[in-house]
Amino acid sequence: MRDEEVIAGSLLEDACFTLEELARAAAVSPEWLLARIEEGLLAAGGASATQWRFSAVALRRVQRMHAIERAFDAAPELAALVADLLEEIDTLRARVERARPL
């Protein structure tokens, strides 16, 4: 590919990934995701698995949970708890940023 070629990107909207796409994007298996959804560790909207759609926030959560499970041989529930806490830190950091004078 020539360097000068310009590739157009497509913007993914908030609920953009199917289960298969989320699994691929996070480099985990669909079975890994299904097990965590069934345990309530990862939220999935929609009545059936074929209707589920996941956001960029869900992708971040899956990457975090997977990294924690792998690095520490952590139980999925513990990795989900760590992901909850990291998400809470994200929220608080955003609040600090909002409080910063413009």
């Binding site: 590739i7 990107g9 497509s10 913007l11 690095a71 520490f72 955003a94 413009l102």
Partner: protein, 317 residues
């Protein structure tokens, strides 16, 4: 190419047991966790630690590394002999292609042939998705932008060995992006296996800090400086948007500092577009001339105004 001492990276001896290596890795994984670490350069250090662990936690890779690295010191110039890895069967250590692509050239040279493919998880030959971050200015969200992105990608050479090369992509980013959003570049991830299609490249958008504006989703925040008489009497003031356009915004009479004014659909474009949120900041003219002082003194005499009246009422309650 520089020799990397993976034992030194993990802070263990060459005789360390698998359990000691795992323990050292976990300690460092906690220390350099990119979400919480206070260490400078935590993300880079975490990659180094992951790379060292990918080698030392895998018995075959560790054995090959030990045999090859005997006598080398960290940072020393290193070139592996041809076919040094004959007799070793590498099986991967749970790191994906995309993650292994972020490892060093040293890793790619030694273990490139197996990459992370031993760990590929059932995607029917489709290449893995890659991830990168793209740093944009808020102005880019209004206009769209073209950014040059450099990626490290595995490529197979004539001898069948996988090497990591740097690939440059010029990417057009459509207008309407907001922080945290993902841009998909179809087919720009890892090549597929056999007839399998390539993976995608997923770019996560981040904004550089802007001296005036702050974005939250598609909403855009701006402090709006106003003179005391504009705030007290009401006024129509110009507001410059990031795309260079100018809006006229009506300030209602009696607007105090901190009051927020919402201008619908003038935030980052999209469907629906975000709002522009203006926070009023009353700026006092300096009392640095006799005339300016006289005006303030006149106000003090003529206006029955106590800014702390509410506070006093609360104190006595």
């Amino acid at each position: 190419m520089e020799f990397k001492d993976y034992y030194q990276t993990l802070g263990v001896s060459r005789e360390a047991t698998a359990e000691e290596i795992k323990k050292a890795y976990r300690k460092l994984a906690r220390k350099y966790h990119p979400d919480v670490s206070k260490e400078p350069d935590a993300e880079r250090r975490m990659k180094e630690v992951n790379e060292a662990y990918a080698v030392l936690s895998d018995p075959e890779k560790r054995a090959a590394y030990d045999q090859l690295g005997r006598g080398y010191r960290p940072g020393e110039e290193f070139r592996p002999p041809p076919d040094w890895d004959a007799g070793f069967e590498f099986s991967g250590a749970g790191f994906s292609d995309a993650e292994a692509a972020e490892f060093s050239d040293f890793f790619a040279e030694l273990f490139g042939r197996m990459g992370g493919r031993g760990a590929r998880r059932g995607s029917r030959g489709r290449g893995e998705d890659h991830h990168a971050k793209v740093l944009l200015d808020i102005e880019d969200a209004y206009r769209g932008a073209t950014r040059q992105i450099q990626l490290r990608v595995p490529a197979v050479d004539a001898r069948g060995r996988v090497t990591v090369t740097t690939r440059t992509l010029n990417v057009r980013i459509p207008k309407g992006v907001h922080a945290g959003q993902i841009i998909r570049l179809a087919g720009q991830g890892s090549p597929g296996l056999g007839e399998g299609p390539p993976g995608d490249l997923l770019l996560e958008v981040q904004f550089q800090p802007h001296p005036h504006f702050r974005a939250e989703g598609r909403d855009l925040h701006l402090a709006l400086a106003v003179a005391p008489w504009e705030a007290a009497l009401g006024a129509v003031v110009p507001v410059a948007l990031p795309d260079g356009r100018s809006l006229k915004v009506r300030i209602p009479p009696g607007a105090q500092s901190g009051r927020q004014l919402r201008v619908r659909e003038h935030g980052i474009p999209g469907s629906p577009p975000g709002d522009l949120l203006l926070t009023v900041q009353v700026v006092l003219p300096p009392a640095d001339t006799p005339k300016a002082k006289a005006i303030y003194e006149n106000m003090a005499r003529e206006l029955a105004f106590d800014p702390r009246a509410e506070q006093k009422t609360e104190d006595h309650a």
